[in-house]
Symmetry: C2
Subunit: 403 residues, 2 copies
């Protein structure tokens, strides 16, 4: 049979997919060795595989394989909340809902708050999987500039005035931002809360990396600055602190909207994978999370330093870069002659050389930053990082030679 | 701080949640013994726990804990397609996308095709988690009547004419329908395809139970009647044939829309839980799925017979019921004096007596069928089924006595 016109929803045109996620399949299909600076994947060494295997053997029983509660496995909710009260961001059981990874937290936030045509402010550059989710709800995205202290919040009132309407939501990654590596200053956090209250806008507070600070001091979280704030929708995940393959995250919201979160999740996937929730719950119950974080923060600091030094050694003043105090990513901007190199075009050359990264335009809804790229320092050890940076340097040399 | 008006999306009013899913938490919170006829959960005996534990120990490695491809783990896609070509519904690799359970398949179908205000035809009664997903996209739901041969497809043209517009989608569960247990006749399948083509409507073909036929003969699937049909969106799951806690399902769509499916999923949860995909892949690779299905079909046939006989013995002509040839559910309609008993009100009494079911109105978007209820025969063994039916009978007696 043939149908020339399929009855797509209007939003289908906004389902653009993710360059980041698609790189998983793309890299898997490459026959040669590739240093992986592209995906934001934890190091293999940072995943406690032996303990996960042991816990899995100890916890898998009939309860693992039947439907779980939509709000999350009770022992995970209890253990997570008990852990978080020991951190700079305490919470309570009536605020937390377990999700299928951080992405589902973003999907939930948009499902609950974003109507077609709503203005949503995003950082520029941003985690485009998050902005793509807002776009899938047909939001109008407004990219707001950043500097070394994160989103330039002071610039928002002018941007909003020019837009002619207030934003429904402001999507922000406050700590070691993906992709820039920058952290939103304390003063800007307070100002952003003031603006959100003035505009009645939701702050979608996406913080996958907050527990991975390896240098400097914690800044006050939005929740600590504005407790019990229904305009604050906080999205968290175990993907970066434990393992992304688990697809276990959580959202932390005012209790007044928690039932709506559960209702929305019931229309999406019933509940998160139960064995993975039990695994995380048991890992936390055994008390290992704090030591684990200490260990992997040291690992990531070493790798961040290795990447910064390797980039300086190999590329010198051909680039500038950010210097994050946590998280997974460095943001590199080409300088001088190299600034004319398209990082989108460079990707193919680099892949052939055996190194993968995310080109800048894939991290901006409007495709800005063709002179920049995101590098993940977390996945590879220092020797591999040096190898990868050398390959990247050869790709940049080749691009310059061909102009 | 106080905010009197939260900037909810319009769809938030349609995020009503699921009585079915919420029963998981409700039942877990009950201190006394309850016979579980409510959730559509496989029997513990139908879950190959020892083999799952053994496979889990054999497969968990670093690849289990990193990001997987959005379209699904390659070995699962390959194994699943290889298995399905041995069934009455063969498919190909370019049609299949792994999902986080069947519910995500329904969410994907609606995300891609359903705009606010679109007409979506649903069976009455229906699996209200599915209709709730369409409602979350602000569809206008049109409930269409059923008989012992499933959806009365012949009635649809009149319903559509009265509605004044053609449906964007028709949501149908063709085999051993949830909740009625009825199967759509072959003639009606052909007629439904004709109507979908005439109206340019998508058939959301939700078939969690098709591989669980324990009596009678397979009917031709929509796909076999209309191969390569882009208007056919088929939603499948391992929840009923293996285990729901895994949250692994798949959608089978025309290759022309598969990229859109992947793009949409990237805005939802990146990928399905990887260890669960590897577990299912290895279970299939070892060749155990066919024998497993043979074994559990015998188990479910025995339980269906036990429930039918127990209901006849205990309730006789106080009820009528359907007699499914597969799947998990019986649909019971109260007769005579008992027809005045509200099954919604009965639920509390029955819970106190120690038996849980789903009241009819929870299986209709408009709350019809207050004289009916859904019973899952799959979860409990014959002795427990008898115990549960006796408790249900006592609850009905009490309800009648109190009128």
């Amino acid at each position: 049979m043939s149908t020339t016109f399929l009855p797509y929803a209007e939003r289908a045109a906004r389902l653009t997919g993710s360059v980041i996620d698609s790189s998983t399949s793309l890299l898997a299909s490459q026959p040669h060795d590739i240093v992986r600076f592209a995906m934001g994947s934890p190091a293999d060494e940072a995943v406690p595989l032996d303990e996960f295997r042991e816990i899995s053997a100890a916890t898998l029983d009939h309860s693992s394989f039947t439907y779980g509660a939509t709000e999350g496995e009770p022992e995970l909710l209890t253990g997570l909340v008990d852990y978080l009260v020991t951190t700079s961001e305490p919470t309570s059981r009536d605020r937390v809902t377990i999700t299928s990874g951080g992405m589902q937290g973003l999907d939930l936030a948009c499902k609950i708050f974003v109507d077609p045509g709503d203005l949503v402010i995003v950082e520029s550059p941003t985690y485009t999987n998050g902005s793509a989710t807002a776009a899938s709800y047909r939001a109008d995205l407004l990219e707001a500039p950043m500097d070394e202290n994160g989103l330039i919040v002071e610039a928002l009132p002018d941007l909003v005035e020019r837009a002619g309407r207030t934003p429904k939501a402001i999507y922000v990654i406050p700590n070691f931002q993906n992709p820039s590596g920058t952290t939103l200053s304390a003063a800007r956090r307070e100002l952003l809360l003031d603006l959100a209250h003035r505009w009645n806008s939701v702050i979608i507070d996406d913080d996958p990396y907050g527990l991975l600070r390896f240098a400097g001091e914690d800044l006050p979280s939005f929740q600590s600055l504005s407790p019990s704030d229904p305009l604050l929708f906080s999205v968290r995940t175990f993907s970066k602190i434990l393992a992304p393959g688990l697809r276990v995250g959580w959202v932390d919201t005012d209790p007044s909207i928690r039932q709506l979160v559960v209702n929305a999740k019931q229309s999406m996937d019933t509940c998160a994978n139960v064995p993975a929730q039990q695994l995380v719950a048991e890992f936390i119950r055994r008390g290992g999370l704090s030591d684990h974080l200490t260990r992997i923060k040291a690992l990531y600091l070493e790798r961040k330093i290795a990447m910064v030094e390797s980039l300086k050694r190999n590329l010198g003043d051909r680039i500038t870069m950010t210097d994050p105090e946590g998280g997974f990513f460095l943001w590199v901007t080409l300088q001088g002659d190299d600034a004319a190199t398209s990082t989108t075009a460079l990707f193919e050359t680099a892949l052939a050389e055996g190194v993968a990264f995310i080109p800048g335009p894939a991290l901006s809804p409007s495709g800005k930053f063709d002179d920049a790229l995101r590098l993940c320092f977390a996945t590879s050890d220092p020797d591999r990082i040096e190898e990868g940076v050398q390959r990247l340097t050869r790709a940049l040399d080749a691009a310059r030679a061909h102009r």
